[in-house]
Amino acid sequence: STVVLVFQAPVAKSTKDNTPSTDFRFNIKRGDRIHVGEALGRWNDS
């Protein structure tokens, strides 16, 4: 079985040219074994 997640995550605006840049970062690699409760990715509010 397989689970697919599709989600919106925070986007920060670059202070230099006001262009959108992604603030969300995955902290996984392809082929990694992951468990329930472990972080897939993180973001910053700043």
């Binding site: 079985s1 397989t2 689970v3 697919v4 997640l5 599709v6 989600f7 919106q8 995550a9 925070p10 986007v11 959108p20 992604t22 603030d23 969300f24 995955f26 996984i28 690699k29 392809r30 082929g31 990694d32 074994r33 992951i34 468990h35 329930v36 409760g37 472990e38 972080a39 897939l40 990715g41 993180r42 973001w43 910053n44 509010d45």
Partner: protein, 375 residues
Amino acid sequence: NPFFLNQLRTFSSSAKAALNDGHNSNSSSSNGNTYLLPGATVATILMLGALHARRLYDDKKVEEAKEKGFEPGFQPDAKASFLGLLPLCTISRMWGSLMSVELPVKMRPYVYRAWARAFHSNLEEVALPLEEYPSMRDFFARRLREGCRPIDSDSQCLISPVDGIVVRFGELKEPGAMIEQVKGFSYSVSALLGLNSFLPMVSGKDVVEKSSEVENVHRDQTKKSWWRVSFSSPKFQEPVPASPIKGLFYCVLYLSPGDYHRIHSPVDWNVLVRRHFSGRLYPVNERATRTIRNLYVENERIVLEGQWQQGYLALAAIGATNIGSIELYTEPELRTNRPRKKILQSEPPEERVYEREGVGCMVKKGEEVAAFNMG
């Protein structure tokens, strides 16, 4: 392989001898049958063993190639086409019924330990003593001991909803929002989640309207004469694929047979819609992803859609031949992998909007939302 052929020859010659003996006398007839049946059984077991060994060898080759940096591409084959002809949903239900048979208490630990050894399950995490799982199906959908899966407490993180292997992840940027199944083949996110999904996309129509607005403004500014407009060739606008709004991500996780098969909420989440797609039940292992087109879009699945702190979130739980049914805690009466009267495979999904007081169904980060079951 030579060993297998020798074995087959031995068994066929012994079977022939047994048959000849059977013609000679009545008393030896029973002996002939006695030899024939075990011979055929052993030959079948050997054949299945040889096929399994070959498959393991092929998989090992793929793993080695991956380690060298070569990514296997999409290669549809005859076996995949043959799978399409099989009644996989019926096979899955039969498998489920077989696995629901209650096992004798004394046998249970041996059977479950054998399963755990074959599929690398950690029996130390199991919530109950092995004797308390009446059937393989119950053991498969087991809960874990309290504290085995600590939930990351960081409020700015999204957690994994399942135990599994990360197959693919990334950001959806291109118009049409496609997820790569394997190198050389992608499937549409809209097809996976449903065409009436709330997927935050800038629609192709909006893009066309915006561009025509810009064109009109430009036309007014340049003050083109009427005939230039009249004789200009008509423009047939092809449908423009929608583009995802910035910051739309995806992650594909594969659960192998030995894994914990319950699904948890990745964040605090307000589930607004449930969609059930009753499709096929192809296997979803790595080999299947390389050989079966639109695997995830074809298979039976449940999609939960809703809103979280940062916007849109959808979770698609996709079944497979051995794990065909999905149990939903927000809707315990829902049954999947049911026999269908309709012949057509491509039925529209069955949808339910959760409108409990107009706020949907709230689930907390780490809370159980669904479970995969055998068959």
